[in-house]
């Protein structure tokens, strides 16, 4: 098992390395390079030369990359050009907020998506199926930033039940405050993923219901609730686990638009601010952290899948 995890990680190493080169090279691609980034456009040649030496830009490119990479691996992602604070601590402040939002959205998505998928898969072609498929299409098609605005208009502007801007309140500090703050953003994202969950799970349920083993199970005289609830569900859930995992991975950083709608203090808004203020060390740090977490979740999903599917042997 551990060997399998290590092999999966090793498989992703080239991708991680290539991507890290891309992230590192970002600052070299911008006009003026890293020096222009720090000094602006009106620097004197002396200033530039001094900074180049200080930053080690006169060293070979490989050496520079290696230095950057080893620093990053040691947890040193540089200092924000604006706040002059270490990038790592800035990210560390925002990451919990993003994770909490991602988890809440996943819960909402599952609570809506699974019942919708099961109900429509059991009666394919019925009016209920069509209505629920319509719901999934809406959930997927309505842009989250518009849906978020509509929710704010209804619950904050019109009904005044919930705040229009959401702050980060850790669950363990005040569950009720946390819910008040996270409800609208979680609902916005959750409705969207519920569309993905419902559509995917319905498709795999319908496919599994047509499989030969379902006929075999029925021919043994199993009650229909066992045929569907055990035989079909178990098979349909295997690929579904992957989709849920992928969506959770997507929520690390992928919540950026929703965070902007609700001015929620997550990683995404940190990145947006960094891009608008051209704070390159912070941009690099955010993207690197998101990338690593994204890939790690992907590996975890693979491992989980191999664990629950008896057909995959990790020998």
């Amino acid at each position: 098992m551990i060997g399998y995890i290590l092999r999966r990680l090793a498989q992703l190493l080239p991708v991680l390395l290539l991507a890290s080169v891309g992230i590192w090279a970002m600052v070299y691609a911008i006009p003026g390079g890293p020096v222009g980034m720090i000094l602006g456009e009106n620097a004197t040649p002396e200033q530039i030369a001094a900074l180049r030496a200080e930053l080690g830009l006169d060293r070979p490119v490989i050496v520079q990359y290696w230095a950057w990479l080893t620093n990053a691996l040691a947890g040193d992602l540089g200092v924000s050009l604006h706040s002059r604070q270490p990038v790592v601590s800035l990210i560390g402040e925002r990451l919990p907020a993003t994770i909490q939002l991602g988890l809440a959205a996943t819960v909402v998505g599952l609570l809506i998506g699974i019942p919708v998928a099961v109900a429509s898969a059991l009666m394919p072609g019925s009016w209920l199926d069509r209505a629920l498929s319509g719901w999934s299409a809406l959930a997927l098609g309505v842009p989250t930033f518009w849906l978020g605005i509509l929710l704010i208009l209804l619950f904050a502007v019109h009904l005044r039940w919930l705040p229009s801007a959401s702050g980060y309140v850790p669950f363990w500090e005040s569950p009720i405050e946390m819910l008040r703050n996270i409800l609208l953003p979680a609902l916005t994202l959750g409705i969207y993923v519920s569309g993905i969950f419902a559509r995917f799970l319905r498709a795999s349920l319908v496919a599994e219901l047509r499989a030969d083993y379902v006929r075999t199970a029925r021919s043994k005289g199993l009650p229909e609730r066992d045929v569907v609830g055990r035989h079909v569900m178990r098979n349909a859930m295997l690929p579904f686990v992957t989709i849920v995992g992928l969506m959770m991975a997507n929520f690390i950083g992928g919540t950026v638009v929703t965070e902007a709608v609700f001015t929620y203090p997550g990683l995404g808004r940190l990145l947006i601010t960094a891009i608008s203020t051209r704070d390159y060390p912070l941009i690099q740090g955010c993207i690197l952290v998101i990338l690593v977490i994204y890939i790690l979740i992907n590996v975890m999903v693979d491992v989980l899948y191999a664990y629950i599917d008896p057909r995959i042997e990790y020998a």
Partner: protein, 689 residues
């Protein structure tokens, strides 16, 4: 048959099943009557669309909700057509057990075999959960699965195909049902494994006294297993009766035609008599008797065209649905040498062969891990030698995975050859470059098994046949559109069909297009890879006859690759038998089928079900143990030794050479080659019937 006196286990009356398709009902079953008694095997035989599978689903109450059922199905005193879901559920697994066709998909991949064996009985409250394991082991032991205690906790993917089907049979029998419905139970299995499963089914049926409905398209399986037979066509039973009478004196023109169209292991070399046309689709049934457009007796008489004949008695317990029963001819079988086959020029073996394959090896790397490192070799073809002369047909026969298709593809240059030499037309083509191989391919063409998959769906039939000419830049040179039209006529298609697309043709017609394409460049050799395996029985004969006619007219040489020993026997001059990447025996057709000397050939031939119930119990049958080993790790020495009834210590140590067998035109690779001992009183248990 004393069983006939008692109340039947199952009684079907005037059963009709229709499905709704684009708003109108399509009849799949159109009024059938059936009785099945305890201790009896009823065989239902028919081609695709005949309604045989729908009938079985109706009896078990497993039809989809879109089906409309009328008539009566009484099983153990319960009317199934009126029963509610709960009643039906309680009957399944208790009164009826089912065995389905494809054992790779009938088991749930994510549950253990043991759980699937017993969960039905637990759900019925007939087995306590804590006794399930022991019961599952017992069930596996009853179907001869070795190491049942270890196997019971395994998953379906850890079982081989034959073992899976045994498990399915164990599952169907777990509740001691009075009726077992087996729908094409061996169609997906290799012939030696089919023999195992059929004898298991027969043994378990005799032990339990259950009534069995056996549904198949294979008349050989019917002759081997059934006591009574119902022949279905166009959603109706057209003939039913005791198995001996159905085969000896069939009384419906369709049954007669079916028997005549069949290439047989025990038949002569006479030309097959195909049934013209193709089986009707349920949505498009002809009026009157559904068989009349293809019938030799109807002769377009008005009564056949307008009036649907009912089943009438034509002998003791023998019914036929034909207006003109008395005109139905006897099948006149077997026809040893009718001379009906037009003469064809003798094959000259003194000159250099057209195709020579010497010690051909094709090994595929097995890759695994992150870096896709090679962890071993799959020896798909491991030392095959054969020759094909001008105008000759060489049959290459073997079970799935034996390497016969890979051999064909390697000759064609479609897979990379690992070792050995291939000579064609006097020239070494083993390692030719793309350009040179292109020239060779003009003279050597390939016909695929699946006529649907081998035709480009977005090209018209005319474009498909013209494609080889265009690729080689010979379209105008070889006669353009006129040439294409002639090719269509040559394979029995109307040139007017040139503008149609592949999906508008039937299976047999598609295969004709594939053959026309292969003939376009006027090749000298055709490699035919299972060209009739995916076709209905009545269509197979049409294609076989076409191939024989073309060979005679064009002096073609054929390398005919197939798993069906009867078809190979019918069409070939010489036959090579493959096992696990090697040819184990090769000879003239007569010698090979009459006096096989390799134990594998002998068991293969004895395993083929023959459509003749009179030889049941008389014909000697060698049931091989086990299944074909994984070609990635073949057994040491002779690859066949673990399953061989003659194996000695030498066989596991030393691979036999491929040597001529004295006194016969045969070469065989066996340390103990020799004909079967003629006396049936042989001591070795596996050499007895």
């Amino acid at each position: 048959m004393s069983a006939r006196m008692a109340e039947p286990v199952l009684s079907v009356r005037a059963l009709e099943v229709a499905f709704m398709a684009s708003g109108r009902p399509v009849p799949a079953v159109r009024g059938i009557d059936l009785d099945v008694h305890a201790n009896e095997v009823l065989g239902i035989v028919g081609e695709s669309g005949s309604g045989k599978s729908v009938t079985s689903l109706a009896i078990s109450g497993l039809l989809p909700p879109t089906a409309r059922v009328r008539g009566s199905i009484r099983l153990g005193g319960v009317e199934i057509t009126e029963a509610d879901h709960e009643t039906l559920r309680r009957m399944r697994g208790v009164d009826v057990g089912m065995v389905f066709q494809d054992p790779t998909t009938t088991l749930n991949p994510v549950f253990t075999i043991g759980r699937q064996l017993t969960e039905g009985q637990i759900a019925h409250g007939r087995l306590r959960a804590d006794a399930a394991r022991a019961r599952a082991i017992e069930l596996l032991r009853e179907v001869d699965i070795p190491d049942p205690a270890g196997r019971v906790i395994q998953y379906p993917h850890q079982f081989s195909g034959g073992m899976r089907q045994r498990a399915v049979i164990a599952m169907a029998m777990a509740g001691h049902p009075r009726l077992i419905i087996a729908d094409e139970p061996t169609t997906a299995l290799d012939v030696t494994v089919q023999a195992q499963v059929l004898s298991l089914l027969a043994r378990r049926q005799a032990e339990t006294g259950a009534a069995v409905i056996l549904i198949t398209h294979d008349l050989g399986v019917i002759a081997e297993m059934a006591h009574r037979v119902a022949v279905m066509y166009g959603g109706r039973i057209v003939e039913s009766g005791p198995v001996e009478q159905i085969f000896a004196r069939p009384r419906h023109p369709y049954t007669v035609a079916l028997l005549r169209s069949l290439p047989r292991l025990d038949g002569g070399a006479a030309r097959l008599e195909p049934i013209p046309g193709q089986p009707p689709a349920p949505s498009n049934l002809p009026p009157g008797c559904a068989f009349h457009p293809r019938c030799a007796v109807a002769r377009d008489r008005a009564r056949c065209r307008t009036e649907e004949p009912g089943l009438r008695a034509c002998g003791p317990a023998h019914l036929s649905a034909c207006h003109f029963v008395e005109e139905v001819p006897a099948p006149s079988l077997p026809r040893e040498s009718d001379g009906a086959q037009p003469a064809r020029p003798a094959v000259r073996r003194d000159s250099e062969p057209l195709l020579t394959v010497e010690n051909l090896q094709v090994h595929f790397p097995i890759k695994a891990g992150i870096l896709r490192r090679r962890i071993g070799w799959l020896r798909a073809v491991d030392g095959v030698s054969l020759t094909v002369h001008e105008g000759e047909t060489v049959g290459l026969v073997g079970e799935s995975g034996c390497g016969k298709t890979t051999t064909g593809r390697a000759v064609m240059g479609l897979v990379r050859v690992t070792g050995g030499r291939i000579r064609f037309g006097g020239r070494d083509i083993t390692a030719l470059g793309r350009g040179a191989m292109r020239q060779v391919r003009r003279h050597m063409q390939y016909v695929f098994q699946d006529p649907f998959a081998s035709l480009n769906p977005i090209k018209s039939a005319g474009e498909i046949v013209a494609e080889p000419l265009r690729i080689h830049g010979l379209y105008d040179e070889m006669g353009g559109a006129g040439r294409i039209a002639r090719l269509f006529e040559m394979v029995g298609l109307s040139p007017g069909m040139m503008g149609r697309f592949p999906h508008e043709f039937s299976g047999g017609q598609k295969q004709r297009i594939g053959i026309a394409r292969a003939l376009a460049l006027e090749p000298r050799l055709l490699i035919l890879d299972e060209p009739v395996a995916s076709l209905d029985v009545s269509i197979q004969a049409q294609i076989i006859n076409l191939l024989q006619d073309l060979q005679r007219e064009l002096r073609l040489a054929y390398l005919f690759i197939a798993h069906d020993l009867s078809v190979v026997r019918h069409i070939s001059d010489r036959v090579a038998v493959m096992y696990l990447g090697r040819i184990v025996e090769e000879s003239e057709k007569q010698a090979l089928y009459a006096t096989p000397v390799h134990p594998y050939t002998q068991s293969l031939l004895s395993a083929v079900p023959v459509p003749d119930p009179t030889v049941r119990g008389v014909r000697r049958r060698i049931v091989l143990e086990g299944e074909i080993p994984n070609p990635a790790s073949p057994p040491p020495g002779c690859a066949f030794h673990p399953r061989c009834f003659r194996a000695s210590a030498r066989c596991s140590a030393e691979a036999p050479a491929f040597l001529p067998y004295p006194g016969l035109p045969t070469r065989a690779a066996c340390h103990h080659a020799g004909p079967l001992i003629p006396a049936p009183g042989a001591k070795h248990p596996q050499e007895v019937a």
